[in-house]
């Protein structure tokens, strides 16, 4: 799971995404990056997220919580 934000940083083409970072604050955060996150989480964790769920996360921590919550289901 610690890998997740590093992968998101790669998608956003930035050095780092910290748990407290607001995702919408990144220049590259748009529908295409949201889709890339869906694909990455599906590939790495076998979890299907919707675009709406990801947008509701707001922060890096929110995304970590969402994936953790889905993983235990």
């Amino acid at each position: 799971m610690e890998n997740l934000l590093a992968k998101v940083a790669e998608i956003l083409e930035v050095d780092e995404v910290k748990p407290e970072d607001v995702l919408d604050g990144f220049e590259e955060w748009d529908s295409l990056t949201v889709l890339s996150v869906i694909v990455m989480v599906d590939g790495d964790y076998r979890i299907n997220l919707s675009a709406a769920e990801i947008r509701d996360c707001r922060t890096g921590q929110g995304l970590l919580d969402l994936v953790a919550r889905k993983a235990t289901k």
């Binding site: 529908s31 949201v34 889709l35 599906d42 590939g43």
Partner: protein, 354 residues
């Protein structure tokens, strides 16, 4: 549900694409999106060129052009088919049916069953199913299945969700009985609770088109479209395909008692290269067995993309020999369907330009 057919074949395919070719790079200034991000979109999704009708061209125009080509080249006799199925989401009129328009404009015989079906990206499979069923009737010797759409006319040029990938076109597929009793297996599912994922909100009886429905509005991603335009929830479609299609193919193969390796070609609907490659990865299918190159050449023309995938990639092969094909279509409805069948040798498989 599982369906099964036997003694049925596809004896020919003709595809019709508009001559008017547009490129993503020329159109990306229409999108409310930085150029750098548009180029990223192009790279990730595999967008490049697409074929669109130029002006008020209708489904019947593309289809009649194709049928007249077949008549003129003696590939189809105008009196020797008994049913005309037209699968489209962009009919000439709300009424009458576009199949009746085509019958009338061509002066075809009256002993003819004309049927329109409102289906999209699964429309080739749904059309094959209906055509195979009609061939149960002794008086129906041959069915002409038309898949055709001119949906570019309903997509906003400022919608980067849909405009880069839309394509127009028509395919004409000839269905006949055959002595070969090899079973054709089909699997079909629908889910109307997800009907809003792909739709044109206005223009029917629920919300007739009006000056209000023509007003352009911006969505959360900066796309501009009106209620008269096609709207697609792209990420919901992506999830739908990745979740539903692989188990459907597993079921189909299991019902048929076949393995992935028994299939020569996976001829799937072409939403974009990206989605097909993710699907191939998930199913463990090598890319060379699943063509994904139709959107970058012609765009996504709904039910026409499987015939285009065959005509573009395999036209010589399906005329010369028989292959084990797994077909799949998935889209509006939502609808997802697959079919395992032998394809070829066909009498013809061609592509012409309108």
């Amino acid at each position: 549900m599982n369906l099964i057919f036997s003694n049925r074949k596809i004896s020919g395919i003709l595809t019709v694409v508009p001559a008017n070719e547009r490129s993503f790079v020329d159109e990306m200034s229409n999108f409310n999106f930085p150029e750098r991000r548009s180029l990223k979109l192009k790279e990730v999704m595999g967008y490049d060129k697409h074929r669109l009708v130029d002006g008020p061209v209708c489904v019947s125009d593309l289809t009649i052009f194709g049928l007249e080509y077949l008549f003129a080249n003696r590939l189809l006799d105008r009196d020797e088919f008994d049913a005309l199925i037209v699968v489209t989401q962009s009919p000439d009129y709300i009424m009458p049916a576009t199949s009746s328009v085509i019958q009338g404009r061509l002066g075809l015989k009256q002993d003819m069953f004309c049927l329109d079906i409102n289906q999209g990206c699964a429309g080739f499979l749904i059309g094959l199913m209906q055509g195979f069923l009609l061939l149960d009737q002794p008086s129906i010797q041959r069915v002409v299945l038309v898949n055709a759409d001119v949906l570019s006319r309903k997509v906003s040029t400022k919608d980067r969700n849909s405009y880069p990938l839309v394509g127009d076109g028509a395919s004409i597929t000839i269905l006949e009985r055959t002595d070969d009793a090899t079973p054709i297996y089909m699997n079909l599912k629908m889910d109307g609770t997800r009907r809003d994922v792909l739709r044109i909100p206005a223009g029917g009886m629920r919300l007739p088109s009006s000056p209000e429905t023509a007003v352009m509005a911006e969505d959360a991603d900066g796309n501009l479209r009106s209620l008269d335009n096609l709207v697609m929830d792209g990420s919901a479609v992506f999830n739908f395909v990745q979740v539903e299609v692989p188990p459907m193919i597993d079921d189909l193969l299991q019902t048929a008692g076949k393995k992935m390796d028994d299939v020569d070609m996976f001829l799937f609907h072409q939403p974009n290269r990206f989605m097909l490659e993710k699907l191939a990865d998930k199913m463990g299918v090598p890319y060379e067995k699943m063509p994904a190159n139709i959107v970058e050449h012609y765009g996504n023309s709904s039910g026409v993309t499987i015939p285009l995938a065959i005509a573009h990639n395999l036209r010589h092969r399906v005329v010369g020999e028989s292959i084990n094909a797994c077909l799949a279509g998935f889209g509006v409805g939502l609808t997802w369907a697959s079919m395992l069948m032998r394809i070829g040798p066909m009498r013809f498989c061609e592509m012409i330009t309108f």
